[in-house]
Subunit: 375 residues, 2 copies
């Protein structure tokens, strides 16, 4: 049997030597970067990287090491590139976003928001923009996108994610379909109540109206009350309007308590959502591809070829650039069986060298890459 | 200006030397592994790895290299560990799953499936198990889990994902709540039709009944027909049963064409789902923690501490072990604002060294790790 300490001492020596070579290699890569900057050559030379990997893998003594060497040098070359991008300050990065100090908002700003008066989105929009801006509401997610696109509004407000039901998949699809960008976000605490007519009691209720998300978020309450039928409306506030107009005491709405006040309804039961800490995240969309200089979060979407290892390769761009992903979501592609489109949120600013390095790498390898916003 | 070719030649020399050192290091790590196997020591010695990283980072000449060295050696040490796990064949890996040659299924096998007669889940269960097994249906996802848990059934069949609406979030939550495991999967092509009473015409319809998922998958049809109100039922077949029992020609169901036959309904419109290639993936769950020796897919779930870099660290275990993720989904944790639980599917078998290495690494760093199944 070998001596553990001897082997470890030997490993320590090898590691020190690897450190020395790594630092020397970074110095050489810096020389190459300076040459590339002066001669206007691209940092990412995929052909050279592929050639290098092939040559280095050929040196390996066995299959395990061949794979290991490939991984190791992909990482080392990515680090070199990241260092090189950090030297090209503010140069043309091919990223079609413009940096601004603040989002242009004044009393002439027009905002379009989803849903009816008294909805959660109205609350979110008021908390974000205040009461001074001009605003109007539309009844579908798609119309919000349209109104921003056709310049009827400067900004749009849409719900994108809820703590108990997860992402709102339609919005993700619309972000791909339209060129509008995410320019901000706002988180709102959501408490659903069961609202009825002033003369209603809980025991009278046979039907509830709400948005599909509202119904999903109150599923445990509905399961416990099987005598109540759930009917899908375009928004939680639409449900409230409907029970007012129909005047039937067996009907109720699932909506926020602020909606009760607005439509003169009675709160039959508070907190019918099954999770006490129920929050919804809203996004602010705009027509211009802009990002604030202090923006800290980037949302992107990419599609991958259906090849083994493709997601694995893609995620390495985040890892090798030390980018912290805060959310990742794979959505099946419409019309394709279990091929996916990925939505990733990560921390960073489009100015950062690591961010640019990752985006370049992903763009080279994905079928499509779309930067949804930096906010 | 430096000469590009000179710098590249020098880089090539450095890289060859790194390859040589890497291979020597792997040989030394193998000696250490043999020592650990003989003395019964654990492969993953986190304390030693942390010490090593600290010592190596201290050698770096600048902050950029310090970070690079840390990344590089995390990867090298993970590769060493992976090689070491590959030497410990079939030894106790701490993974509570038993290998079987095939899932035990015979004429005494009992299967519980979700939904009503004529539903898509019934079709999926029959395609997977054939007609020979004993089977019964229940009306909620949760009951399927319960019946498998309390031994009323050996296997359960549940829908988990649809190509147009994405993952069915409730099922994910149930997989965390119950100890049942995923033992198989089955993909079924889903075509929704609008079904009415024999004397109904499309123009008569004012209300449709379907499962929440069925309504979501036909949203474009419902938007184009605003005169139709959508009502949520427990399953697509429940909707069909209901319109039969109520006998109202203004009511229809959204369900499969096979449901029309079963309940004597008329197909008012075929393909009302907005996506032509609409498929649903079903999972087969069982009580025993078993996996087939030829199983190729692993589903796990883990929760992360709310720290910068935690998802980034976690994903490196997949990347450094060359594991191909086929699906990743982050779900907000109930009761916590935007902290996430992750569901990951990846290719592999619980026997593989890389798989065991990744699972060990994740277990060390995540708050919780649950292996949902290998199938």
């Amino acid at each position: 049997m070998i001596d553990l300490q001897d082997s470890r001492n030997e490993i320590d020596k090898v590691d020190k030597e690897i450190v020395r070579l790594f630092e020397y290699r970074m110095k050489l890569a810096q020389d190459v970067a300076e040459f590339k900057i002066q001669t206007g050559k691209k940092v990412f030379d995929k052909e050279r990287e592929v050639e290098k990997l092939t040559a280095l893998k050929a040196l390996a003594g066995n299959e395990f090491n061949r794979h290991g060497i490939s991984e190791l040098f992909q990482q080392i070359m990515s680090m070199s590139r990241k260092m090189q991008y950090s030297l090209i300050k503010e140069k043309d990065t091919g990223i079609p976003f413009e940096k601004v100090t603040a989002l242009p908002v004044d009393t002439s700003t027009k905002v379009v928001w989803f849903g009816a008066k008294g909805s959660y989105t109205e609350q979110a929009f008021k908390q974000y923009f205040g009461e001074e801006v001009k605003a109007f509401n539309v009844s579908t997610f798609k119309e919000v996108m349209e109104k921003v696109k056709d310049k009827s509004a400067d900004y749009g407000v849409l719900p994108i994610e809820n703590t108990s039901t997860g992402g709102i998949t339609d919005i993700y699809d619309l972000l791909v379909e339209y060129e509008n960008s995410i320019m901000g976000e706002h988180i709102l605490k959501v408490n659903h109540a069961l609202l009825g007519l002033p003369q209603s009691e809980l025991k009278d209720i046979k039907k509830v109206y709400s948005h599909n998300q509202g119904i999903l978020q109150c599923q445990k309450f509905l399961e416990a009350n099987p005598q109540i039928e759930a009917i899908v409306c375009e928004s939680t506030a639409d449900g409230a309007k409907r029970i007012v107009s129909e005047g039937d005491i067996t009907q109720a709405a699932i909506a926020g308590v602020q909606t009760a006040k607005l439509y003169g309804l009675k709160i039959l039961r508070e907190n019918v959502n099954h999770e006490c800490n129920n929050s919804t995240r809203f996004i602010i969309i705009g027509r211009n591809k802009q990002y604030k200089q202090d923006a800290k979060k980037i949302s992107i979407c990419f599609e991958l070829p259906h090849e083994s290892g493709s997601l694995y390769n893609m995620l390495s761009h985040f890892i090798y650039n030390n980018l912290n992903m805060t959310k990742i979501e794979s959505r099946p592609l419409e019309g394709k069986t279990f091929e996916y489109r990925f939505f990733v949120d990560f921390e960073g600013n489009l100015e950062d060298a690591g961010v640019r390095n990752a985006l370049f790498g992903i763009k080279e390898e994905a079928i499509t890459l779309k930067i949804l916003g930096n906010y």
